[in-house]
């Protein structure tokens, strides 16, 4: 899994690529730890190029989202493939995350916060 990071107007945008699974979640957790340590509060995860996410991946997103919320931060997701959307849909996590079609849409929404 590849993770590239950019800051856009105070929003940390993480571009994820590849598979988010039990073998790759440590890398994702590491990235999240650094974001929390640096006290960033607005985080956008872009899933363009992510083919699959397993239960460990979903739980990692949930944990990160909870910790961000405790610091009054917020997590948005964008650019999910239809495959990922179906996994989020069947596990019902699509109801607990703010999901946007495009990065642009998500960023626009962020500026209201």
């Amino acid at each position: 899994m590849q993770i590239n990071q950019k800051t856009k107007n105070g929003v940390v945008v993480c571009y994820l690529k590849g598979e988010i699974n039990i073998d790759t979640v440590p890398k994702l957790k590491e990235t999240f730890e650094i974001i929390l340590k640096n006290k960033f509060r607005k985080v956008l995860l872009s899933f363009k190029g992510v083919e699959y996410i397993d239960s460990l991946g979903i739980a990692t997103l949930i944990d990160f989202s909870k910790r961000l919320l405790k610091r009054e931060g917020i997590l948005f997701l964008c650019e999910l493939s239809s495959n990922l959307r179906s996994i989020f849909g069947i596990t019902k996590v699509d109801k607990v995350f703010k999901i946007y079609e495009t990065e642009e849409e998500a960023l626009k929404e962020f500026y209201g916060y």
């Binding site: 397993d54 239960s55 949930i62 909870k66």
Partner: protein, 247 residues
């Protein structure tokens, strides 16, 4: 020389065209692959709605089966097939009447026989498919209730007569049933369920599959914990707790 100069720009033009076409084909292939695997999950969910209605069960079955496959050193390709085919193991339940599938209390021997048919009915749905995932799905639907000692159904296959993918999903499915809350029972604690799986080696399960499962115990526990976290977060949210986010 003059001819060569005329050909060169054409050559680069064609090369560029081929590159673009290849890129387009790659994108279309990815799109078809994504829609295909997406449909697999949504299709599997239909059967779950008829029964337990939990999508996390499907993701867990895929994850547990993949871990067992890793423990058996199966190829990446086989693990990929298992991931997408295993959630469809109970697809035949779509055809089992609701009044039998959801009946509370005891079932008559005839009703029990009808429920057992979800295996052959599931296999019928995938019959004749040329898709590798659906071929595996057919094998799994048909054989995931066979038992290593030959006392399972529908064919009463014994030992290694049972296809490998069927033996893998049999364990993943039972382990998940043991560790999940059902209307008629509380979940068994993780270690109790592990012990029960161990005790069923050579009886319900192939001992080689049990060993592979135990080799991956650390990861199995992580998956078990992860889906518990997912479910409790969603439950917390759906009760209107302000901690949840989203729309």
């Amino acid at each position: 020389m003059a001819t060569k100069n005329r050909i060169r720009p054409k050559y680069f033009e064609y090369q560029e065209k081929i590159k673009k076409t290849y890129q387009k084909l790659k994108e279309v292939y990815e799109e078809i692959k994504q829609s295909y695997t997406e449909i697999v999950f949504r299709f599997a969910l239909m059967a779950e709605y008829k029964d337990e209605a939990t999508g996390t069960h499907l993701v867990r079955i895929a994850d547990y089966s993949t871990e067992i496959a890793k423990g058996l050193n199966l190829s990446k390709k086989d693990r990929y097939y298992l991931r997408y085919a295993s959630p469809m193991h109970d697809i035949g339940k779509l055809i089992v009447p609701d009044n039998i599938l959801k009946k509370e209390g005891g079932l008559t021997p005839e009703e029990r026989e009808i429920i057992k048919k979800h295996t052959t009915l599931g296999a019928d749905i995938f019959k004749g498919s040329r898709s590798p995932i659906l071929k595996v799905a057919r094998v799994i639907a048909l054989t995931h209730h066979e038992r290593y000692d030959g006392t399972g159904y529908p064919q009463g296959l014994k030992g290694k007569q049972i296809p490998l993918f069927g033996r893998i999903v049999a364990l993943a499915d039972v382990f998940d049933a043991l560790t999940t809350k059902r209307p008629y029972k509380e979940p068994y604690p993780f270690e109790d369920a592990i012990l029960m799986v161990k005790q069923e080696a050579k009886r319900h399960f192939d001992p080689d599959i049990v060993r592979a499962f135990l080799r991956r115990k650390k990861n199995i526990k992580k998956i078990w914990q992860a889906t518990k976290d997912i479910e409790s977060f969603i439950a917390e949210y759906s009760f209107g707790n302000e901690k949840g986010q989203g729309s």
